[in-house]
Symmetry: C2
Subunit: 514 residues, 2 copies
């Protein structure tokens, strides 16, 4: 990475554009140290042409073509969005899928965190009573009982962090036999198995819904072999009115709280981490600062034997040719392409294409199109080999770097990564988001220091310091790695947990509503 | 309706089945007063054969074919679900669409309620500060400020009933240019215009989302011509951290509360009612008790000059041939068929058909299939002519009976009817649901007294008394009409408001997630 006194950053020797990182942007008439005369104002985070770029010729960033010039672009001028024509997406059929020889990564040993070990071997980073539902009809009741449990029961169970309603909009009024219904159903099933719930999730059902409540907890209670059903059904004849229902739920909750309260943190290997990576509200610095630093941290976790998931199909699709050479075998490669092509067809059926991304805010942040966004996005995945590919909401199977196929929608991706078993999430943002999850800690990393400083109480780590030359990517990566261990251990609270800012679960349901 | 000492109910002279309404069901060996010998146990709410029905011949209820016998069915035996073969849906192309001469309904005058009249002429039944969002990212913040406003500000504004977060999962990570995106977008726009918010909805935006916040409040403030923007954008450079955002939101909220606090109930004509009708958790009694009684009340509202909406495309589709003869002109008829055929195609794209309905609970309640469910469902619409058809989320345009096309999903239908402008909802249920909305009162009507008694504090009106002969349909209809006026006036609180049981908004987004 070539730093021009922290005024512009050029990433690759082939690049004919660079990103302006000086906080005030560049003004027409400025002169850069290598003699380039700035011929138009260029805002912070946007691209400047390092050479003249003729109409219809390639605009190159990260050493990759991010588009073609819509007209002649002068050296030193602003390469704004309207000047960048979207190139075709990589053709999936033409991509070679070959196993890659895994690099001789040096294993990291001795890194640990303090977690809650579960009977199934997974490790929690929080100790939370989860109350899920088989249908949204009962959400008013779950919200009500969560308030009561928090006020009346929780103060007696000091080792339990919180009680959380896992409300969602699925369960009835949906085409439950549609082929795509497998996605929301397995997501709900697997969320109950997230390590932070310690196997103690309660289910509140209605009784007449399409999604039979018992489907959410396929396994029997290990203590009693199933006598203490975690499922309460509001339509059960035994409940005479609302107060009866509430009394039964409170009493079941207390039983779960007694068990959860026995959980204690113990020293666990960093290999027990399952870290979900996500970005939202990206800008042109995402691919220069936060994402490469998180990618560096991801490599450290993989080297320490842990699991890392990266996601967001629509935001890796245009850089897929850079991912296929990283799969460990042909099976994983085929699975990766299959998730891409499933999504291509899904968008086609809805009569849209990939140009629906990026958002207006991404564009204001300097991202011209989805190709540029994707190239920045995949930097989060670091350089480890891709050992597995999960369909949306599937549970993680392997240590190392996994591609968990999800939409890019922040809340849907978060919900699906929870289902896959994540116990810490790292979220990079350039424009800023108050996003948080009650079920697992979310570490928010800013791509630029303007945001990092302004949102001092909402951002957990400012990777903008990389652009200003204060930290290198490896330095920031090591700090993020340490921060993950601290947060996973409960030694450090993330901003969203301190303020209690939490987003609702949102399921990915590609099947019809009925 | 022929009442066999309240043991079975036969609706139409052509029917060869009747519904068992005695609470314990019928036992093999029982003899009915007309001499029919019961030859198998028949549960409460299920159907008994009044004559022998040969294999492949029609099973008739409501005078309509609800299916064909899968095998010979003996007189006096249980016509269970597995014996009823689903007939084909009415072919939309073959349905005649002709204007109907409106019946000489006697107009009802002098009926009033106490409502909050708005500048646009609409009338609210509650006085609520609504806080909407342009994207789910900010939901953690809206939930936080709603708690603070409720605790710190609301006690000073005694005329304001509540403050409600209008959270949803739309706004970003969605294909906002897809043809079907018009539905969720107009739904969000029109919800802000619901009469219960008095034109004072606040919008909290993030800043980089696809759905630009300003699209949610297209009209300027009438007081100041737009100087006091109701939109707050969290990414605005002026906000240094979370506390700054909260302070600005609290101060804007206070301004709205001052204005809302000036609203007073005044006597309004019943013609200002906009009543949404819905059913959820139906059983075989739905079409005999609650739905016809609500239909009777709907006719009274129409006669009093008010507006009534019925909905749920998938639950009227199979009875559409009974609705097309009720449209006031060909345009309305074509619009009705067009909504049906849109939904047929939507389900087809998702590789499902109408057999995804009814639910397991409906079936347990005695409903054999979607045809029988639909015939019972449309009873809610009474007998008034259909004056208009709305696409999902469109705002109501005419007095009288309107078909507002929505999915049957309770929460999605409720959300869409809110957008259409409903100020009271009437919800019938046989199996029972704690469903409620914070934005508008929901009157819950049970179809059977078993539920009505057991859920004494969750059901507002027990229409099961019709089956037991205590009330006639017109008597129950008049009582529901009075109840609507009382609830709309704030004189009577519905169960869900008394307990504070509220479901979240759920948007209908047929377009892809990105």
């Amino acid at each position: 990475m070539d730093r021009e006194n922290s005024v512009i950053i050029k990433v690759h020797e082939l690049d004919n554009v660079a990103v302006v990182v000086s906080s005030g942007g560049l003004k027409s008439g400025d002169r850069l140290t290598d003699g380039i005369l700035v011929v138009s104002d260029v805002p912070h985070g946007h691209k400047i042409a390092l050479a003249g770029i003729g109409a219809n010729t390639a605009i190159v960033r990260y050493g990759e073509v991010i588009g073609y010039a819509a007209e002649d672009i002068r050296r030193g001028s602003w390469v704004k969005e309207s000047l960048v024509r979207l190139p075709a997406a990589p053709l999936l059929e033409e991509l070679p899928v070959v196993a890659r020889v895994a690099p001789a990564f040096e294993a990291l040993t001795g890194f640990t965190f303090e977690g809650f070990r579960n009977a199934d071997g997974s490790v929690g980073t929080k100790n939370v009573l989860g109350i899920t539902t088989s249908v949204q009809c009962v959400a008013g009741v779950t919200d009500y009982v969560v308030r009561r449990i928090r006020e009346e029961l929780l103060p007696r169970f000091l080792n339990v962090d919180d009680v959380v309603a896992l409300n969602h909009s699925y369960g009835c009024g949906v085409a439950i036999d549609a082929p795509a219904a497998v996605i929301p159903i397995r997501t709900l099933q697997n969320i109950t198995r997230n390590p932070n719930f310690g196997g103690e999730v309660m289910v509140i059902g209605l009784g007449c819904e399409k999604l039979v409540p018992e489907r959410l907890v396929p396994e029997r209670c290990s203590d009693c072999g199933g006598l203490c059903s975690p499922v309460l059904t509001l339509q059960d004849a035994e409940f005479h009115g609302f107060n009866d229902m509430v009394a039964a739920i409170m009493s079941t909750a207390e039983m779960h709280l007694v068990r959860l309260n026995k959980r204690r943190r113990e020293t666990c290997s960093a290999s027990d981490l399952v870290v979900g990576l996500q970005c939202g509200g990206s800008d042109a610095l995402s691919g220069l600062t936060a994402n490469p630093a998180v990618g560096y941290a991801a490599d450290l976790i993989v080297r320490a034997g842990g699991s890392v998931m990266f996601s967001e199909v629509t935001e890796v699709r245009d850089a897929i040719h850079l991912l296929t050479p990283r799969v460990i075998d042909e099976t994983v490669g085929r699975a990766l392409l299959s998730e891409m092509s499933w999504y291509d067809r899904y968008l086609e059926r809805g009569e849209v294409d990939r140009s629906a991304n990026p958002t207006p805010g991404n564009k204001e942040g300097g991202l011209a199109n989805v190709v540029e966004k994707a190239l920045g996005s995949i930097a989060k995945s670091g350089s480890s080999p891709i050992v597995d590919v999960l369909g949306p909401g599937e549970r993680i199977r392997r240590k190392g770097l996994t591609f968990a196929a999800t939409p890019a929608s922040d809340f849907i991706c978060g919900t699906l990564q929870l289902a896959s078993g994540m116990n810490v999430q790292v979220f990079t943002t350039g424009r800023g988001t108050p996003y948080g999850l009650a079920m697992t800690p979310v570490i928010k990393v800013s791509t630029n220091s303007i945001l990092g400083k302004r949102w001092h109480d909402l951002i957990d780590f400012d990777a903008g310091q990389i652009a200003s030359g204060i930290k290198t990517i490896p330095e920031a990566g090591h700090e993020i790695f340490s921060l993950i261990l601290d947060v996973a251990s409960g030694r450090r609270q993330v901003c969203s947990d301190r303020l209690g800012l939490y987003n609702d679960l949102v399921l990915f349901n590609p099947a019809p509503i009925t």
